[in-house]
Every structure is written in C-alpha cells, then in structure tokens.
C-alpha cells in the first residue's frame, strides 16, 4: 500500500521559493499592510504553495515484494513528481545504512528524516530520503537498541577535546557569514546594521591595539577566534552524547544535541576501520577510531567516528567487541606479509615540509625588506612545517603495508594525522600505483587503496619501493577470500 510521507515534505518543494517570495511578502505585510506592494506578490505565493501542495499529494512510498528465481525480494519504492513523474526503487537487500536525523523543527512537527543508502548511492545524496512520522522509525530504532550486545559511550570531556581539535576558524567564519547573510535577507537592513554595529561598540580591539598589535591584525584575530568558537559549537552539538553499540544487524551510532542523528550501519556498509592520531594524541597515547562506510559523512565536516580519543586499553577492549575479526590486526602483524618504506626514504617524507619552511623564510626576508612591521608574524607560520616535520618523521618510522589471506593493514599519514587502517581484502575496489619523475628514478611509488564507498574513500601510502609492492598478493590475485 502506498503511504504518504509526513506533511513536512512540503518544505522540500517550498524551500527554494521561500526566501524569494514568501519572506518578502511577510516583511511587506508587517511594514505596510494596506499598501499595494505588500499584496502584489500574493498570487505568486498562492501559485507556488498550490503547486507544492499538489507535488506533495503526488508523492508516496511503500514496500512491495517481487519474486526472483523462487526468492522473494522486498523492494522499497518512492513515487514523486507532478509534471515529471519519478519512480525510484531500492531493493531491501541493497540498503547498507539507515540514517535518522532529528532536529527541534522536525520535533515540533513530530517528523524524522530517514536516509537510506546503498553502494550505488550518489556521493552527495543518499539513495532515498524520506520525511516520516517520528513514531514508527523511532520505535524501530528503540527495538534495535534492545538487541545491543556491546555499547560504547564517549565521555563528554573527550567529545569536547575532539571538537576542539576538529574546529577550524575558516569553517566557523563560513557559518557566521551565512547566518548574517540569511538574517540580513530575512529581517532587513535595520537588524543587519544592528548586527554589524556590535563590532563598532566593542572596545576589545582597542585594548589589543594598546598592547602594540596593529588594528587589522587585532580584528583578524577576533574574527578567527569567533570563527573557531562557532566551528567548535557546531562540532560539539553534532557529537555530544555520542554512543555506539553493536547488534546483530550491524553497528548503531547515536549522537548529537539538538541536531541529533541515529545511524545503523550494516556489516555490508562498513568497508574499513581506521585508527587516527594527531601528534598530540600520539604523545598522550590516545587514538580515535573511524569507520569508512557506505552512507556516512555526506554532510560537510561530518566524520564517521566510532570512538573518541580512547587510550590503548579502551581501544583493545572495545575494538575486540565491535570488530573481532579486524581488531587483532591493529595490534600485531604476526603471520602477515609486511613491507615498509626503505630506510633511505626519510628525505622523501620530509621534503614537502622542508620546502614549506624554506618558502616561509623567503617570505620573511621579503617582509623584512618591504613590510617590517608584520615580519615577526610571518615567523609564526613556521609552526605548520615544524608540525609536519615531526608528523612525517613519525610516519616514516611507522608506515607499513601488510596483508594476510583475508585482510590488509596499512599505516601512513593523511594531512595532519597518522592512520592505521584495517580492511578486508574484499573491500578493496581498486589499487592505484603512482610514480612521479623523482620516484621513477628511485624506484619508489605511492600506493592508493580505493575502498568501496560511494565517496570513493581511499588510503594513500607513500614512498614504498615498487618491487616490494609486487610481493603483495592483493595486487594480482584472482579471487578474494570471503
């Protein structure tokens, strides 16, 4: 039987016209209710709302069963479109992950957003998105929760620490910019003036100027701090109350404050498990565990976190219960064929940060010559190449690629983190071996293990010898072990 989704679905059709038609009308009605201008756009609004209502009435979803070679298959379907009819089907066997999204607005209407993903999903959009009444999906989720055999809950302090490490000023500033922009559009010039006017009344900048910092630098500093704080809040609200559990159907992840999400990842969805460490975490013997899955991380800045900043004991304990097959490979390479970058490859690891440092010294020399006032600030940039020098030295000492009959274990670095990933051989979709002209001379290469997620996730392992790579069987063997 075809059912209609929650009435909030109307918003999907209205949202694109909302800021252009409905908000100006409401604004004009409040300002001058009896003017011609206020009501002139009313017919357009009625037409848009009418079409949206018809579009909502034309859509529906349901489950049907089909026979395929004596086997009954459940198929979820979704019909939509008033002018351009669309019929989308998703076989139940293919659903790899289910994502429930809740937020205060949806709570107000008693709705929940359900996103279903399959291996054939688009990198940016789920295979199927539905807005449904909250009751049924949540009772399904609660039922699954009762079957949890092992549960992990991240302590709030660690979530705060993770949010601090993930937050960067640029993303926060982007959020602020968007908010101010939207607020300006919604509420008119007066409020925008008030919002921006806040900065005029703030005299903190003057204090910084008194310390000897140039005004521009002080303002940039305040903006960066504000941006970072906003990014921190976004990350914190996203990952607060983080819990993960394992049940017979797969891995269940529940997280978020205000903007909450509940995610079920079937075993089919999980392609690799990876431990990541920043240098600071490595010094403190802490690690975070991430999952590389089908159907997660579609939102910008979203991470498929499983464990936040866990110590080695916790890591061993929880990983052995969540992923008993993969867990031993993180701690031992016994019985595996293992290769490492050659000993003389240290310079290759350090080359890029060294070049960065050289570029900063060059920039410093230019600033001393032409903009002496700012020249000490340039030296602060040395923090980044210094960090990368240390990180890559650690990567040089720890990188490896190992395999046995069923799994591959890989350790390397990605941006500012070290990673150790364990993946079943069957999860490897493609192996890419790249050589630049320098590597061709030295007989080294970069190996990329592409795993089967719709976002094309991959692990890059650098500066391995080509002839060592050829020793590994996953590059050429015919069939993989299940």
């Amino acid at each position: 039987m075809t059912k209609r989704p929650h009435v909030v679905t109307l918003w999907n059709y209205l949202s694109r016209f909302f800021f252009l038609l409905i908000v100006p009308l409401v604004q004009a009605v409040f300002r001058a209710p009896f003017s011609e201008v206020a009501w002139s756009s009313l017919p357009g609004v009625i037409a848009v709302v009418g079409i949206a209502c018809f579009q909502y009435l034309s859509c529906g979803y349901g489950v049907t069963a089909v026979e395929d070679s004596g086997r009954s298959l459940s198929i979820l379907y979704w019909n939509s479109g008033l002018f351009f009819y669309k019929h989308r089907i998703l076989p139940a066997d293919c659903v790899a992950s289910v994502f429930l999204r809740l937020n205060p607005i949806l709570d107000l209407f008693g709705a929940v957003q359900v996103m279903l993903d399959s291996p054939a999903a688009n990198a940016k959009r789920p295979s199927l998105t539905l807005l449904l009444h909250k009751k049924e999906p949540m009772s399904w989720w609660n039922q699954l929760r009762e079957e949890i055999t092992h549960r992990y809950a991240a302590s709030p302090v660690r979530v705060v620490l993770m949010a601090i490490s993930w937050s960067n000023p640029a993303s926060g500033l982007l959020v602020i910019g968007l908010l101010l922009n939207r607020a300006g559009k919604l509420l008119g010039e007066e409020l925008t003036r008030q919002l921006y006017g806040i900065y005029e009344s703030v005299n903190q900048t003057q204090r910084l100027i008194a310390w000897g910092l140039p005004p521009t630098v002080a303002i940039v500093g305040w903006l960066m701090a504000l941006g970072w704080f906003c990014a921190f809040l976004v990350q914190f609200f996203r990952y607060a109350f983080f819990t993960a559990g394992t049940c017979p159907t797969g891995t269940m992840i529940s997280r978020g404050m205000f903007f909450r999400s509940r995610q079920l990842l079937t075993d089919q969805a999980i392609r690799a498990v990876a431990i990541r460490q920043t240098l600071m975490m490595r010094l403190l013997h802490l690690s975070s565990v991430y999952l590389h899955t089908i159907g997660s991380g579609k939102e910008k800045g979203d991470r498929s976190l499983l464990m936040a900043a866990a110590n080695t004991q916790e890591l061993r304990y929880h990983l052995a219960r969540f992923y008993p097959k993969e867990s031993p490979y993180f701690f031992s390479r016994e019985g595996m064929t293992s290769i490492r970058p050659p000993k003389n490859s240290l310079l290759s690891f350090l080359l890029v940060p060294l070049l960065h440092a050289a570029a900063i010294f060059l920039l410093y020399a230019l600033f001393v010559r032409y903009l002496a006032l700012f020249s000490p600030l340039v030296l602060f940039l040395l923090v980044f190449p210094m960090y990368h020098l240390l990180l890559r030295t650690a990567a040089y000492r720890n990188s490896f690629l190992a395999e046995d009959d069923t799994h591959i274990a890989a350790c390397g670095y990605v941006s500012d983190q070290l990673f150790t990933a364990v993946l079943p051989k069957s999860a490897v979709q493609a192996v890419v071996i790249r050589q630049n002209p320098l590597q061709r001379r030295s007989g080294r290469c970069q190996v990329r293990l592409c795993i089967g997620t719709e976002k094309g996730a991959c692990f890059d392992l650098r500066h391995f010898r080509v002839e060592d790579i050829q020793q590994l069987s996953f590059l050429w063997e015919e069939t993989e072990q299940p």
């Binding site: 054939a120 493609a430 790249r434 050589q435 630049n436 002209p437 719709e454 094309g456 050429w476």
Partner: protein, 144 residues
Amino acid sequence: MEFALGKNSIRLWRIRGTLVALPACFVCGIVAALFPIVGIILCIIFIVIYLLYYFWYVPRLFHSSLASLENGRLTWRTGVLFSVRISLRLETILTASISRTPLQSLLGLCTLSVRPVGAPISLRQLAEPDARELLRRIEEAADD
C-alpha cells in the same frame, strides 16, 4: 590478455595538441607585436614545448598506455612523466559503458568507463573492437 591503444590515438592527441596550440600561437603573436623580445622568447619556449609534445610525449604516452586482463583483474597503465597503474577486480565493477566524442568516432576510437563503488575509471583512446571485447569480458565476470 593485453590491449594496446588504438593506433589513431597518436593522431588524436596530436590534433588536440594542435587545437590547443592555435590560440596559444595567437596570444604569442599579440605579445610579439606589443613586446617584441618577450614575444620572441615566449614563441621559442612555446615552439619547443609543442615539438616536444608532438614528437616525444605523444609516442611515449602511446607506448606506455596499456589495458590488460589477467587473473580476473583489469589493469590500466598510463602516463609518461607521472605514471599511473590502476588495478581492479572485474567483479567489483558495477557499471561499464563505452562513449565516443565526435573526433574519437572519426578515428575509430572510444573511451571505456568502468565504475566500481566510488569514482569511475576511464580507459581512453581504446580501439573500438578492443573496448567491446573488454566490455564483453566484464559482462561475463558479472554473470559469474
């Protein structure tokens, strides 16, 4: 089983290179008219790059590009300065398609795109019979 690129791929790359070179020639001419010395230096650099591309890079790219099917794996090698070797199991391929640009169809070439879960991989400038044979093998692997 190995599949080299279609022989006309050399011609195709040279035509493309020449098409790109034409507007660059025009720009060089303008620069030479305005700043003769800079223009002449630019022209010399540009001609050297073009000749290197035409007589050195293209033949090498042709010889270094190869698709092979071995032990149920499809391997694609390409690149002269930056070499790339991509290897994937046939059973991981979700979709495979053959496409042609007008220039490719004129020269009897085509592009075979295979998509495992994630980003697609394009095997460009294959001879059409070779691409069809590869596609048939991929279909067979999917049936198994």
